[in-house]
C-alpha cells in the first residue's frame, strides 16, 4: 500500500512580513506541480491575514498525518499553540517564539519522516536575535538542529536554483577583501564534493557537470591577473576530477552564464556572493529558489526577504515560494528513493 506522500513542512516565517501572504497565495494558486504542504503557524492569525488580503482560503487545523488528504480542499495548518498578533509591516518581539517553534517543528517532523522536506518563509533576523535566537540566519540554525539530532556536524551549503541556472557561492556573506584569504583549495573541494553528492542524490543527475568559476578576471589569465586561480582554484578542480567528479575550471566568469555556456553544466561553483547572485537574479529574478545542501534533510526557501512594506497589501509575488515548494517536493522524492535504495541494499 502506498499512502499519500508526506506533506512538506512550511514555516510561516516572520508574521509581519510577506511569509503569510505568499503562503496563502501559494495554496490558492496550487497546481498539479505543487506538492501538498502543511503550514506551521497560528490558524487564527492566518485567517485574519487572509481576510486583510481579501483571500478566500479555507483553513483546517490538522495533525501532520492528515495534511496531505486535506490539502486539496483546505490549507492544512498545524497549530503550534503560540498565538500571533503581529500586524502586517510592524514586526514586534512577541512573535519570535512562534517563528522559532515553527522551524523546530518543521525539522522534527521532517527528520521523523512525518514531513517530506522543510520549506521556510523568510524570518527577520533582528526580531529573532532580540529573542535569543543563537545563529546569524536560518541556514546555520537548521545545521545546528540537524547536528543536535544526528550527533554529527552538518556543513550547510547554499545553492540558488532555477530551471535555467543553479549556482553555489563558495564564500557568501563576507567582505570582498576577505574572499582571497577565505578561499582555500580545501574549501572549494569540500563545497564541490557536497554539490556533486546532492546533485546526484537529490537532483537525480547520474553524472552532474560542475563549472568552476575563476576568482579573478579572465580566471587569472594563466597567473598574469592574480595567482589565486592558478594556485588555489586549479588544484581544487584537479582534486575534484581525481575523485571522479565532472568538474571544469577555473572558467572566466563573464562568459559562463549566457545561454550557450549554461548548456554545458548543471551547476556553477562561484567564488563569491556577487559572482553567483548577479547572474541568477538577472536570469531568474522572480522564481529563483534557495536550496540548502549538506543537511540530512531537504530544505528550500523562496529567494526573497520579509518585504515588510508589501505585507498585507496583496502585492507580494508568491512565484518564488511556489517554485520552492515544487523543488522541495522533487528533491524529497529523489532523496527518499535514494534512501530506499540504500536501505534495500543493507536490509538483507
Amino acid at each position: 500500500m502506498t499512502d499519500r506522500p508526506a506533506p512538506l513542512a512550511l514555516t510561516l516565517g516572520e508574521p509581519a512580513g510577506i511569509g503569510p501572504d505568499v503562503a496563502l497565495a501559494a495554496w490558492l494558486n496550487r497546481g498539479a506541480a505543487t506538492p501538498p504542504f502543511l503550514l506551521l503557524g497560528d490558524p487564527i492569525f492566518l485567517q485574519r491575514r487572509a481576510k486583510t488580503l481579501g483571500l478566500d482560503v479555507p483553513i483546517a487545523v490538522v495533525a501532520p498525518s492528515e495534511a496531505s488528504s486535506a490539502f486539496s480542499r483546505f490549507l492544512p495548518v498545524v497549530d503550534l499553540g503560540l498565538p500571533v498578533t503581529t500586524a502586517p509591516g510592524r514586526p514586534d518581539a512577541s512573535s519570535a517564539p512562534a517563528a522559532i517553534a515553527a522551524i523546530d517543528r518543521a525539522v522534527a517532523l521532517t527528520m521523523a519522516g512525518e514531513a517530506a522536506a522543510v520549506v521556510t518563509c523568510p524570518i527577520a533576523k533582528h526580531v529573532l536575535t532580540a529573542a535569543g535566537f543563537p545563529d546569524p540566519g536560518h541556514t546555520e540554525y537548521l545545521a545546528r538542529l540537524a547536528a543536535r539530532r544526528t550527533g554529527k556536524p552538518a556543513t550547510p551549503v547554499m545553492m540558488l536554483w532555477s530551471p535555467e541556472l543553479a549556482v553555489v557561492p563558495v564564500t557568501i556573506h563576507i567582505a570582498i577583501a576577505a574572499v582571497p584569504a577565505a578561499l582555500t583549495t580545501d574549501l572549494i573541494v569540500e563545497t564541490g564534493r557536497l554539490l556533486d553528492r546532492d546533485l546526484r542524490r537529490r537532483f537525480g543527475l547520474a553524472k552532474p557537470r560542475i563549472a568552476v568559476a575563476g576568482l579573478d578576471p579572465h580566471a587569472g589569465e594563466s597567473g598574469t591577473i592574480g595567482t589565486a586561480d592558478r594556485d588555489v582554484v586549479t588544484p581544487a578542480v584537479t582534486a575534484l576530477v581525481t575523485e571522479g567528479i565532472v568538474a571544469r575550471g577555473p572558467l572566466p566568469a563573464d562568459t559562463l552564464f549566457h545561454d550557450a555556456a549554461r548548456k554545458t553544466y548543471d551547476a556553477a561553483l562561484c567564488m563569491y556572493h556577487d559572482q553567483a547572485l548577479i547572474p541568477i537574479k538577472m536570469i531568474a529574478f522572480d522564481h529563483a529558489v534557495n536550496v540548502t545542501l549538506g543537511l540530512p534533510f531537504v530544505r528550500t526557501s523562496p529567494d526573497h526577504g520579509t518585504a515588510f512594506e508589501l505585507a498585507g497589501t496583496g502585492r507580494a509575488d508568491p512565484s518564488s515560494l511556489i517554485a520552492a515548494l515544487g523543488l522541495a517536493g522533487r528533491l524529497a522524492a529523489a532523496d527518499a528513493a535514494a534512501k530506499g535504495a540504500g536501505s534495500a541494499g543493507t536490509a538483507g
Binding site: I172, P217, H218, E221, H258, H273, M282
Partner: protein
C-alpha cells in the same frame, strides 16, 4: 565628404588575419546607402577587396576623397607591410602592424575632425606586441596616439552601459583600487559618456563593492568609507549619482530603466551583467578620450577567420552605437 546631420564613422580593419575585414563587409552590406556613404573604411585595399569578395558584397569601395556613387563605401588605403606574409588565421607581426597603422590613421582623422567617431574591428594583443608595440592592444594604442594616458572601457548593451573602477587586476587588487578619488573620477567619466549618447540628464548608479553593499559594515567597510563619499561628492558636483547599490540589485534596476549607466567596482561584476543581458549586442566604448570610439566586444577569432562564417551582428551593433554618439563640450 561629411554628410550633414549624420556621424561619419572611421571603420578600422583590425588584424587582417582575423575576422575584422569579413565582419566589416558583412555589416556594411546591411547598411542603407546613406549610412554607407558616411562610413570610411580605413584598411588595406587588398584585404578589404578580398573580404568583399568573400562575402559577395552588394557594394563597391571607392577611394576616400572621390565622389561616392550610390551605395558605395569610401576606403582610405593604409597599406599593410609584407602582405604576402599575412596568412588567414595566423598570428604575425606584420598583421599586427597592419592593424595598428589603421588605428593611428583613424585617430589622426578624428583629432582633425575629418571623422566623428572611430569604430574598430578587433586586433590581436599578442600580434600588436610582436609588431613592437609595448602596450596593451587598442587601449594602449589610443593612449599613445591621443596622448591621453588614462581611458576607460565602457560596455554598452541595449539596456544599459557599465563602466568599471578597475578592470584587469586581481580581485584583491580591485579592493585596493576601490578608493573615493578613483570612484569619483569614474563617475564623472560615466556621466560624460552617457551625455555623448544623447541623454541630456544621465542617471548614474554606483554598485557596491561588497555583498549587499556591505550591509552597514557587516560585510566590509569600503562601501561606507569610500563608495558612499564618492557618490556624495559626485552629487555635490551636480551628477545624478545613486549608490552604493548592491551588485545583485543594481543591474536589474538599470534594466528597469532607472539608470543609463552603472559604475561597477570590478571587472566581473560589470562584465557578467553586460554580457548576460546584451549578448551579441554588447559593444565596447572607450571613454575619457578627446575622441569617440566604439569597438566590437570580441577577438580576432583566428580559428574561423576568412571562412565566411563569422557573425557580423556585434560589428553592426558597434557601428549603430558609433552612429548615435555626439561629442560633448568639456
Amino acid at each position: 565628404m561629411k554628410t550633414i546631420g549624420m556621424n561619419t564613422i572611421g571603420l578600422t580593419m583590425g588584424d587582417p588575419a582575423g575576422i575584422g575585414p569579413e565582419v566589416i563587409c558583412k555589416a556594411l552590406g546591411a547598411l542603407p546607402a546613406d549610412e554607407r556613404k558616411a562610413t570610411v573604411v580605413i584598411g588595406d585595399p587588398l584585404f578589404m577587396e578580398r573580404a568583399r569578395g568573400l562575402v559577395r558584397a552588394n557594394f563597391s569601395f571607392v577611394p576616400y576623397g572621390d565622389t561616392v556613387p550610390e551605395g558605395a563605401v569610401p576606403l582610405l588605403a593604409i597599406d599593410a607591410p609584407n602582405r604576402d606574409a599575412i596568412v588567414p588565421g595566423k598570428l604575425s607581426a606584420d598583421a599586427g602592424e597592419a592593424g595598428c597603422r589603421c588605428v593611428k590613421k583613424a585617430v589622426e582623422m578624428a583629432l582633425a575632425g575629418e571623422i566623428d567617431v572611430i569604430c574598430t574591428a578587433s586586433l590581436n594583443k599578442t600580434a600588436v606586441r610582436m609588431a613592437g608595440y609595448d602596450l596593451n592592444g587598442h587601449a594602449g594604442l589610443l593612449a599613445l596616439y591621443t596622448g591621453v594616458k588614462k581611458n576607460y572601457a565602457v560596455l554598452a548593451c541595449p539596456q544599459f552601459a557599465v563602466i568599471h573602477v578597475s578592470t584587469h587586476v586581481s580581485l584583491a587588487q580591485a579592493v585596493e583600487l576601490c578608493r573615493t578619488e578613483r570612484i569619483l573620477e569614474t563617475i564623472r567619466v560615466a556621466q560624460r559618456h552617457v551625455l555623448t549618447t544623447g541623454v541630456a540628464k544621465p542617471r548614474v548608479a554606483i554598485a557596491g563593492l561588497n555583498p549587499h553593499a556591505g550591509e552597514g559594515g557587516l560585510y566590509g567597510t569600503e562601501d561606507d568609507d569610500f563608495v558612499a563619499p564618492a557618490v556624495a561628492a559626485a552629487r555635490a558636483e551636480g551628477i545624478d549619482a545613486h549608490g552604493p547599490i548592491p551588485g545583485d540589485v543594481v543591474f536589474q534596476q538599470a534594466i528597469d530603466g532607472k539608470f543609463e549607466i552603472v559604475v561597477a567596482q570590478f571587472h566581473d561584476q560589470g562584465h557578467i551583467a553586460a554580457k548576460l543581458v546584451g549578448g551579441h549586442d554588447t559593444v565596447n566604448i572607450t571613454a575619457g578620450l578627446p575622441i569617440l570610439r566604439t569597438s566590437v566586444d570580441h577577438g580576432t577569432a583566428f580559428d574561423i577567420a576568412w571562412k565566411g562564417v563569422a557573425d557580423p551582428s556585434n560589428m553592426k551593433a558597434a557601428i549603430a552605437m558609433a552612429r548615435r554618439m555626439k561629442p560633448v563640450a568639456g
